[in-house]
Symmetry: D3
């Protein structure tokens, strides 16, 4: 039943994402007691320019 959305900069490989998701599923199982059968991990790729940090914006420079 846990549903986990991971927003990240585009560019990671499927191998990286799979290894990460496996560790997340294990963390959720160990620490929250949630069975892997009920756990989903969804990766949401974000293009770098679409992810803007307030600190950079406040300086008046580019947003990343």
């Amino acid at each position: 039943m846990p549903t986990i959305h991971i927003e990240l900069h585009k560019g990671r490989t499927l191998e990286q994402k799979t290894a990460c998701a496996r560790a997340v599923v294990n963390a959720v199982k160990e620490h929250l007691g949630a069975p892997p059968e009920a756990t989903q991990v969804i990766f949401v790729d974000v293009e770098k320019p679409d992810w803007m940090m307030g600190a950079k914006l406040a300086e008046g420079g580019p947003a990343r």
Copy 2:
């Protein structure tokens, strides 16, 4: 005012999505009493490899 996000595997046609959204708008109208004018449906396509199921990950195989 209801806003509905439907995350699904990429690959459905616009016709499928439109028919689905129409049924969802009707369901929201009939069962929640929400007027269609205030209802929005947003489809979020997810690439299959980005949607990982815990059960598959726990088996140590590929994540889908």
Copy 3:
């Protein structure tokens, strides 16, 4: 595999939500071909004051 989030004003009963979710699951099955076993519906209650409409804000009045 479809995951559906329905944001709505707080106040609907469990009966209303259940009937709505059942219709949504059927819509997703019929029009997207997604099996109910893989479908989840999550209701997200939003307090009315937290949901602000741009039209009301632009008029300078209260936001709802």
Copy 4:
């Protein structure tokens, strides 16, 4: 700490998004007291056909 997601129709330029994000970061700073260093703005482009308006669907016409 505020995280802002802006869903919008695809097609705006990076310049438009940057100017918008800067104004949003300032709004959050001025009205919520949140420091820009802790604020993030994420733009989520939505393809027009994926964003369906209930009013259009209820009329039986195209969904946009």
Copy 5:
């Protein structure tokens, strides 16, 4: 049509949120060309303990 979700620590007043949302609606209008009638702002209150910063966690201390 822009839908804006603002996640923030619980505790702001309705007045603060309304002023912030009004500024956001204006920013979206000015910089993205989106009409206020089509813009919605949804505030999502997050309890402080539910929002965990990686830097704090990595230090092994409390997560906020």
Copy 6:
């Protein structure tokens, strides 16, 4: 920069969530190469009745 939302049934303790978040931050660091300073984990408690499983709904019984 990764932002992780963990939706889960209400009821876990802060200790459980903190331990889980720490493991998630480490997983993201190890497998995605993302620095903890840029990682946030947000827990989203969902009331059990608000999380409906399609399989249960399709059987015509209660939704959980």
